[in-house]
């Protein structure tokens, strides 16, 4: 009866919120949407919201103490801990983002789930988990307090809480943007409906509710997404045919890396220019496989929190190993759709569909983006009902990621910032109440961040790397603390701080352009300008003429009048003689294709609206057309990497952004370890008796008694490791 009552409350709340959603669905999207949902799809989505809210209401009575709220009572089984561990990481940004990565980088994208995850997760399970578990810490910063003292804990706690809500807000903004582009839903409504839902169920049930919902979301994400690779491979004519077609089409879709191998994991990592990621094996192994991966999986509290709440140490270890097994399967729903995007997404004329990065000026105007790979495949293969399940999987993914961030924020804020720094002696009831309200506060700060991104969308680029600044140094500090009893509090603090500073410095260095970073020469023809288009060989545009209206040029040299110096910036009106801008323009002595973008113009012959984008063709401007010209050369550009500087960080001018990030993480770890060790030799270590249960050699791992062989975490860790090696050999 109680459950029925909760369901009714949840249904009421959803019914209250739903009209806003449906009413704005029509108003939200003027552009053509990728997916059109039927009534049955909306019903499936609505049921999901009702169920997650009902679970939140149901679990409220089981969270009466701080331990219940922040640590879910420390009574999870291995399977629940493992599913939650992996689900908190399997957000839609992850599935859509890594599908996009696989479309961009081919099979190399799968490394994030293999060498970039499995060794680190197994290390967490077998080596680090006993320390986290035995010291009964509430958080990773909590471990730092016990091992090093208040300084590193405050640094880690404050940076973590700040980062968590910022990342949560960024995810929310990205979700709202994606739902707007895919379904035409109003961004405000998407942000508020999803955050209020997450806020309610975390407020009511704390981590218990978050974990419950993450397990549910894990099932939905898999069951809603796995049909895409199944149907896609059938449609492509089998696995080998799909790889063959993907490799063939990749040369057309990614012309700048047309000789790169898109279908192998290691064969193409001999040098920076034989693979689409622009990375070599060293960067992959030591950057991704060591620094980034161990930093993320072993010390990101959001992840660790999911398994330290298990009922006993063995369950915590087995839960983590289960997480590793499940992680290794994720490429099925992430990497394969990316490869399918290269193979089976075709234009009506049968040519491969070209998708572009979000930074491309044609993105979402004339061409879809990399991030649309998964939704495009959903629209191609999933009919009514299944599409609703697929979209529910996406929404579930967004919400599980956000719930993870909010519950981790509430824990770290309450135990590592509020309790030690602001109010040491309050009752458990007070901290429980603080945790509940922190969940709401976390949601509100996330919403504020999401709205900030409406106006400062460039922050997103900063946020994506911000995580690397902190988690890699954090891993260096924690692991030395666990394995080396001589590491001192001063060593830990200065190592951590030095690595954060060096990470930030490297980031600034590779984005600095002493000679200025100049965007590609481009022309955007303003809305409602009148254009005529000359075509040859069927539909191929050979020349564009602007009859009237306005154009905006960036970094284009304009020969305004014969005999006078050409101009690059300012506002002008085309003289009676007219102007022709050549298809190839010189930019700092380098010949580049002129990029012409027409988001919404009127064709002079038919008077119909048209939109297209072309490169390398001449543009004729008729008398009277207004030109707004600008010349941009930025000394610092967060969206671009300076090859002259990247060679010092990533060993080669050919290193691409991903390689630079991996190498930066590697250097950051090296600096952290070196400074911590160096400072520790000159400073006083903590007494041995204070390091018991915190450091290897001084910790007695409790004997949990005999267990059947199939409950032995070391055995399963070995099995997963062997499977990892086999997979890497098969797809070498």
């Amino acid at each position: 009866m109680k459950l029925l009552k909760n369901l009714c409350i949840a249904a009421f709340l959803f019914v209250f919120l739903m009209p806003f959603k449906t009413a704005t669905a029509a108003a939200g999207g003027a552009a053509s949407h990728l997916l059109n949902l039927s009534t049955i799809d909306m019903v499936i989505i609505a049921i999901y919201f009702v169920v997650v809210l009902a679970i939140g209401f149901y679990l409220k009575k089981y969270t009466s103490t701080g331990d219940d709220f922040f640590m879910a009572g420390r009574k999870m089984t291995a399977w629940i801990a493992g599913l939650s561990f992996i689900s908190a990481n399997l957000s839609s940004l992850e599935t859509m983002g890594w599908s996009a990565m696989a479309y961009q980088y081919g099979m190399l994208g799968a490394h994030a789930y293999l060498i970039g995850a499995i060794p680190a997760i197994l290390f967490l399970a077998i080596v680090m988990m006993p320390f986290y578990y035995i010291c009964r810490t509430h958080s990773v910063p909590g471990y730092l307090k016990l091992r090093y003292g208040e300084g590193p804990r405050a640094l880690a706690g404050i940076s973590f809480t700040f980062l968590t809500v910022m990342v949560s807000g960024a995810s929310m903004f990205a979700m709202a943007k994606i739902l707007n582009l895919l379904l035409g839903w109003n961004m405000n409504v998407s942000i508020w409906v999803s955050s209020i839902t997450v806020g309610i169920y975390v407020f009511l049930g704390g981590l218990l509710s978050a974990v419950f919902n993450e397990v549910l979301q894990f099932f939905l994400i898999w069951l809603g997404t796995i049909l895409i690779p199944i149907l896609g491979i059938i449609s492509a004519g089998g696995w080998h045919k799909m790889l063959e077609t993907a490799q063939k089409n990749a040369a057309i879709i990614h012309p700048t890396v047309q000789n790169a191998d898109f279908t192998s994991l290691w064969r193409n990592l001999g040098s920076f220019d034989t693979n689409p990621m622009g990375i070599d094996w060293f960067g992959m192994v030591f950057g991704l496989g060591l620094a980034v991966s161990f930093g993320y999986w072993c010390t990101d509290f959001l992840q660790v929190q999911r398994v330290i709440i298990a009922k006993d140490l063995r369950s915590a270890q087995n839960g983590t190993v289960i997480g590793a097994m499940l992680k290794m399967l994720v490429p099925i729903i992430v990497t394969i759709p990316g490869l399918l995007g290269l193979a089976v997404l075709l234009n009506p004329d049968g040519s491969p569909m070209i998708l572009v990065p979000e930074s491309d000026p044609r993105a979402n105007i004339t061409l879809r983006t990399f991030n649309d790979v998964l939704p495009l495949l959903m629209g191609q293969y999933l009919g009514p009902g299944l599409l609703g399940l697929g979209v529910t999987a996406m929404i579930a993914g967004f919400m599980s990621g956000m719930a993870g961030n909010v519950s981790a924020f509430a824990t770290v804020w309450t135990y590592d910032v509020y309790k030690p720094l602001l109010n040491r002696k309050a009752s458990d009831k007070h901290y429980l109440s603080m945790g509940r309200w922190c969940s709401i506060l976390g949601v509100l700060i996330s919403i504020a961040t999401a709205y900030a991104l409406f106006y400062f969308s460039n922050i997103l680029e900063f946020l994506q790397v911000l995580v690397f600044f902190f988690i890699v140094p954090l891993f260096g500090t924690v692991i030395l603390g666990m394995l080396w009893k001589r590491a001192t509090p001063a060593g830990g603090f200065w190592g951590f701080l030095a690595a954060i500073i060096i990470s930030m410095s490297m980031w600034v260095f590779v984005h600095t352009f002493p000679d200025g970073s100049r965007p590609h020469p481009s022309v955007v023809i303003s809305n409602n300008a009148v254009v005529s288009v000359a075509k040859q060989d069927g539909d191929k545009i050979s020349r564009v003429v602007v009859e009237s209206g306005q154009i905006q040029t960036t970094n284009v040299t304009i020969p305004l009048e014969a005999g006078k110096e050409p101009v690059t910036s300012g506002q002008y009106v085309v003289p009676q003689t007219g102007i022709e801008l050549p298809g190839i323009v010189k930019d700092a002595a380098i010949a580049k294709n002129l990029r012409v973008l027409v988001p919404d113009a009127i064709e002079s012959d038919t008077k119909q609206h048209t939109k297209f984008g072309v490169e390398g063709i001449s543009l004729v401007l008729k008398p009277g057309v207004t030109i707004r010209a600008s010349y941009i050369a930025k000394k610092f550009d967060a969206a671009a990497f300076n090859p002259a500087h990247t060679k010092y960080v990533a060993r080669s001018e050919k290193a691409k952004p991903m390689a630079v990030n991996m190498y930066s993480a590697f250097w950051s770890l090296i600096v952290c370890l070196s400074v911590t060790i160096g400072v520790s030799f000159f400073t006083k270590p903590k007494p041995v008796e204070e390091l018991k249960n915190l450091v290897m050699g001084l910790t007695d791992i409790p004997d949990e008694g005999p267990c059947p062989w199939y409950h032995n975490p070391k055995l399963w860790a070995a099995v997963v490791l062997v499977a990892l090696v086999v997979i890497n050999i098969i797809f070498w």
Binding site: I47, V51, G73, F212, L216, G379, Q380, L382, P384
Partner: protein, 71 residues
Amino acid sequence: MHSEHQIPIWFFIGLLLTVYGVLILGCGIYNVICPPEHPVKLANLHADIWWGILLLVIGLIYTIKYRPSKD
């Protein structure tokens, strides 16, 4: 989930999958009877029917196995 009277998460999962299975299976059967004007690719495989059945079976197994007991 381990407290004496707490309904296990598996029951909620089972319930949700059962409802989804029924809806998707129903949708698939409807599509066979009244084929849509613009079918998706590989609609001839009737993925909605067999996926609906799969969800229904998994859902029922979980719902029955983990249903809350009366005591």
